[in-house]
């Protein structure tokens, strides 16, 4: 009977599952797997510079390609370094397979060298995890892991593989069937779909509140959304995670909703009579004060995960299904029953009133680059290239969400749920590997970029022409903003002191560095960045104390948006302070 080592079996199954790229970092407990990798040609291994980078790169790869991202790290510190990325993928429903080395089975529990309880540590921040104790189990486990990571609500799956299991051999003869214990929702119940369509068709003020679930469902779901919006004539808003599912250039687009969403999106959510939540999860950044959240609407919620239903907001019609399939069903029913698009004239007139507030306007300047202006110019310069944009976390992330506009899914990579600074650069690297010909830009803050700055070397090594566009305001701007609004401008530890010279740093890593602080020269500088065939770090010096508006302060209702700096009081009560 032919036998193979656990490491070889692992590689075989990865290839069988269609894996072509693995993001990893070697170490003692994965040496047998690295040796097996060395002896094959089907899988490309991308050597990152820190395991957090591997996990975020795999996330970026997954979000931009729709395929699961694969991570390979060693035991102990290798695994613990990857935990932030695993938790990030869990929050944002990103499919990952994380392979971690472990000490040999006979040493587990003995505080052996580089032993950490990886399965224990990742248990509640992964969709599922395994400790493999026998190479004969490996094939079944890895196959099941891929199915769990990618089906239903996607998420990260960790497979912890002790070193002796990588070395020991097992028969490859037995074709074990993949286990099928994992079930997930697909089509919706037609009775529920009928009811939903009826509600939408009779609504006077409907709204489609879309989210990351549509991106998770795949490009067909975005197509269905466009058709559904067209058929029903309803306005569309999206969460941070769902941007691109409906085109920002579309007529029905209201912009993002939530804490830093547009006035029109939040007002429409508040005033609608039928809310159709499509693959979004009523996050606290979106709902604001719960008892004031869209008080008079009938709420329909389509989500593949039953636990998302009624988690924070009680809904009237929960539909547990794949959102792409459910929207397709709605379209079929709508057409089958020959519903007519309502005029919804009054509703759109009210929306026009809210739009007229022009909530995203900001004070201009000829002296300094306003951060919003920088994003606008970047968008203008790149929109015909259909770029993939990743971000770090902070004000720049919100400005990018507000002022960069997406017309297609899988073009926007951002850490929403966990809000992980340091996500953007490795995510851009992963996205670039998955889309070698795409223009990939990480819109960054000067603080966040330093959290995984070592990944610049990864981009250099693999000749990845990623661009990092830093809105350098010399502050942890988002923190500074909250301190200004909530703590009477006591700026405790939020200044980005001792910043590196980003241009010199770029050059040190073999990148091109560009600096610009003059609004008049910005377009030329951006053009120079785009013309360069290689990685570029762009140090865009922006106005230092701009705040990101509109903003719904913690604990406030959608109708209590702060639209500009004049409306800021500078302090908040304890109830509001206690909310994140």
């Amino acid at each position: 009977m032919p036998e193979k080592s656990g490491a070889e079996i692992l590689i075989d199954i990865l290839v069988e599952q269609g894996v072509d790229t693995v993001f990893g970092y070697p170490g003692g407990a994965v040496l047998p797997i690295y040796d097996a990798l060395f002896q094959q040609k089907k899988i490309k291994h991308v050597l990152v510079r820190h395991e957090a980078g591997a996990a975020h790169a795999a996330e970026g790869y997954a979000r931009a390609t729709g395929k699961p991202g694969v991570v390979l790290v060693t035991s102990g510190p290798g695994a613990t370094n990857a935990v932030t990325g695993i938790a990030d993928a869990f929050m944002d429903s990103i499919p990952l397979i994380v392979l971690t080395g472990q000490v040999a089975t006979n040493l587990i529990g003995s505080d052996a060298f580089q032993e950490a309880d990886t399965v224990g540590i990742t248990r509640h921040c992964s969709k599922h995890n395994y400790l493999v104790k026998d190479p004969a189990e490996l094939a079944t486990i890895v196959r099941e892991a891929f199915s769990i990571a990618t089906k239903g609500r996607p998420g990260p799956v960790v497979i912890d593989i002790p070193k002796n299991v990588q070395v020991a051999t097992a028969s490859t003869d037995v074709k074990r069937p993949a286990r099928t214990r994992f079930t997930y929702a697909g089509e919706a119940d037609y009775a529920e779909i009928n009811r939903a369509v009826e509600l939408i068709a009779n609504a006077k003020a409907p709204i489609l509140y879309t989210g990351g679930g549509i991106i998770n469902s795949g490009p067909a779901a975005s197509e269905a959304l466009r058709e559904l919006a067209e058929l029903t004539g309803a306005p569309v808003t999206s969460t941070l995670m769902g941007l691109g599912a409906y085109p920002a250039s579309g007529d029905a687009w209201l912009g993002m909703l939530g804490m830093h969403g547009t006035y029109e999106a939040n007002m429409a959510m508040n005033q609608c009579d039928v809310m159709v939540c499509l693959g979004a999860r009523f996050d606290d950044r979106v709902t604001g004060r719960l008892d004031a959240f869209s008080p008079d609407s009938v709420k329909i919620h389509v989500d593949i995960d039953r636990s998302s239903m009624n988690k924070t907001v009680r809904v009237d019609l929960p539909i547990v299904a794949d959102v792409g399939t459910a929207m397709r069903q709605m379209i079929d029913v709508w057409k089958g029953r020959k519903y007519k698009k309502q005029s919804l004239e009054d509703w759109w007139a009210r929306i026009a009133g809210w739009r007229a507030v022009d909530c995203l306007s900001y004070p201009g300047s000829t002296q300094e680059i306003m951060p919003q202006y920088a994003i606008e110019r970047l968008f203008e310069a790149t929109k015909d290239k259909s770029p993939i944009i990743s971000t770090e976390v902070g004000q720049h992330q919100m400005w990018a969400a507000q002022h960069f506009h997406f017309d297609a899914p899988n073009k926007w990579l951002t850490s929403g749920g966990l809000g992980t600074m340091g996500y953007g650069l490795p995510a851009a690297i992963g996205a670039q590997l998955g889309n070698p010909n795409a223009l990939v830009i990480d819109i960054a803050g000067e603080a966040s970029i330093q959290m995984n700055i070592q990944e610049m070397a990864t981009a250099t090594q693999y000749r990845l022409p990623v661009k990092v566009f830093i809105l350098n305001n010399e502050w942890m701007g988002m923190v500074r903003q909250w301190q200004e609004l909530t703590y009477e401008s006591r700026y405790s530890e939020s200044y980005s002191d001792s910043l590196p010279d980003f241009v010199a740093l770029a050059e040190a890593y073999g990148w091109k560095g560009i600096r610009c602080d003059d609004p008049a020269k910005l377009d030329d500088a951006i053009a120079e960045m785009l013309a360069y065939d290689g990685p570029v770090m762009f140090d865009c010096r922006v106005h230092k104390t701009s705040n990101c508006f509109p903003m719904i302060p913690s604990g406030a209702a959608h109708t209590d948006m702060i639209l500009n700096a004049d409306q800021v009081s500078g302090t908040m009560d304890d109830e509001a302070k206690a909310l994140v």
Partner: protein
Amino acid sequence: MQIKQELTERHVLTLTVDNEAGTLARIAGMFTSRGYNIDSLTVADISEDHTTSRITIVTKGPPPVIDQIIAQCERLIPVHKVTDLTEAGPHVERELALVKVNGTGDQRVEAMRLADIYRARVIDATVNSFIFEITGGPDKIDTFVTLMREVGLVEVGRTGIVGLMRGAGVS
């Protein structure tokens, strides 16, 4: 600022789960990490081929939280089925307790008398101690234990609750 408390209900949940390493930690840990209560938890292998276990969890929470608990349990890969016995209708709940009572003279006689009323069995006895075994619903056991405190209870062990639906239906 005060931290708000909500009214809670007690629910008995039964879970059918894969009998594999880490399943119990996954479930118990999910309760702690999401801030849910566990009043009692029992687990035992129930299948002929040793692949399936049944877990009974008694939990407390406001109704929407109970609903979330069930949904969160169902999300776990090794969990196949979750039944809320409290919602499912008539069901029986049983728990077993071992109660050690030390004493002599009148106190000892009184302990015996009470045990008799509560149909507790003596499963160990010395001249100055008894161990009683009692089975019943949680209220009965609570009352028995409270009474025994008066007559020399020194130690008690409880299994936690198991439950089944009444009638022919299965949970």
